[in-house]
C-alpha cells in the first residue's frame, strides 16, 4: 500500500529563517511526486511535480528535491505570506496511476 509521511507536523519559523520540510514515501513504482500548498478552508494549490531521483524544481523562495525514498521542500528566507499547510502526494506507477495519495501535511507558520 502506498504511504506518504510528512514531517514535521508543524513548523514555526521567524521571517528569514530558512528550513526544510520532509516527505517520505513508499510506492511500488513512482510515477510522480507532487507538492501542493493549502491555505485554511481552501483547495490545494499546485507547486511542483518531480518525476525522478535527483530532480530539483525552484519557484521563488521554494525548492523541491527528490531522492528514491523522500522529497524535501526547502524554504529560503521565508516571509509571513508563506504560512500555509504544505502537502506532499505521490502517484504510483503500478497501482492505479490516476489517484494522488497525500500525506497529512506540514503546517508552516512564519512570524514577522
Amino acid at each position: 500500500e502506498d504511504q506518504v509521511t510528512q514531517s514535521p507536523e508543524a513548523l514555526r519559523l521567524q521571517e528569514g529563517e530558512s528550513s526544510s520540510l520532509n516527505c517520505s514515501y513508499t510506492v511500488s513504482g513512482l510515477r510522480g511526486l507532487f507538492w501542493y500548498r493549502q491555505d485554511p478552508g481552501k483547495g490545494p494549490e499546485f507547486l511542483f511535480t518531480l518525476y525522478s531521483a535527483g530532480e530539483e524544481k525552484e519557484k521563488e523562495r521554494l525548492k523541491a528535491t527528490l531522492t528514491k525514498k523522500e522529497s524535501f521542500l526547502h524554504i529560503t528566507a521565508p516571509k509571513p505570506e508563506d504560512s500555509a499547510t504544505y502537502l506532499c502526494a505521490v502517484q504510483d506507477l503500478n497501482t492505479g496511476f490516476q489517484k494522488l495519495v497525500f500525506g497529512t501535511g506540514t503546517r508552516l507558520l512564519v512570524s514577522p
Binding site: 510515477r31 510522480g32 507532487f34 501542493y36 478552508g41 481552501k42 483547495g43 490545494p44 494549490e45 499546485f46 511535480t49 518525476y51 502537502l87 502526494a89 492505479g96 496511476f97 490516476q98 489517484k99 494522488l100 495519495v101 497525500f102 500525506g103 497529512t104 501535511g105
Partner: protein, 114 residues
C-alpha cells in the same frame, strides 16, 4: 488563468438527504477527480473519471456515491443518502493530459450533515 470552480461553497443537509456537488473543470481538460478531506485529516481520493466513465475509485466510493458529466462543462458528485460521516470538504480536480499531467484543484465544497 483558468481554474476549477465548485458550487456551492457550503452545503448543510439532514442525514438521509441527497446532495449534489457541482464542479466546472478547466476547459479542455479530459480527466476529472473527486477527493475529500475530513476536518484535520489528509486529502483522500474518491474517484477518477475519463471518457464518460469511472476509471478508478476508492473503497470510500460505495453505492451511495455517483458521478456524472451531464454536459460539456459540468462534473457532479451525488451522495444519495448522506450520513454524518460524509461531513467533509469535497474537492474537484481536473487534469489536461494522461500520465504525467498535474491535477488542479478547486476551492472545495464544505458539506455538513446534521
Amino acid at each position: 488563468e483558468p481554474e476549477v470552480t465548485q458550487t456551492p461553497s457550503h452545503q448543510v443537509t439532514q442525514m438521509g438527504q441527497e446532495v449534489i456537488l457541482r464542479c466546472v473543470p478547466i476547459s479542455n481538460h479530459l480527466y476529472f477527480y473527486w477527493y475529500r478531506q475530513i476536518l484535520g485529516q489528509k486529502v483522500e481520493f474518491l474517484v477518477s473519471f475519463y471518457n464518460n466513465e469511472i476509471s478508478e475509485k476508492s473503497e470510500i466510493f460505495d453505492d451511495q456515491f455517483s458521478v456524472e458529466r451531464p454536459d460539456g462543462s459540468n462534473f457532479t458528485l451525488k451522495i444519495r443518502s448522506t450520513k454524518l460521516e460524509d461531513s467533509a470538504m469535497y474537492f474537484c480536480a481536473s487534469k489536461g493530459t494522461g500520465g504525467l499531467g498535474t491535477q488542479y484543484f478547486g476551492p472545495g465544497t464544505r458539506l455538513l450533515v446534521l
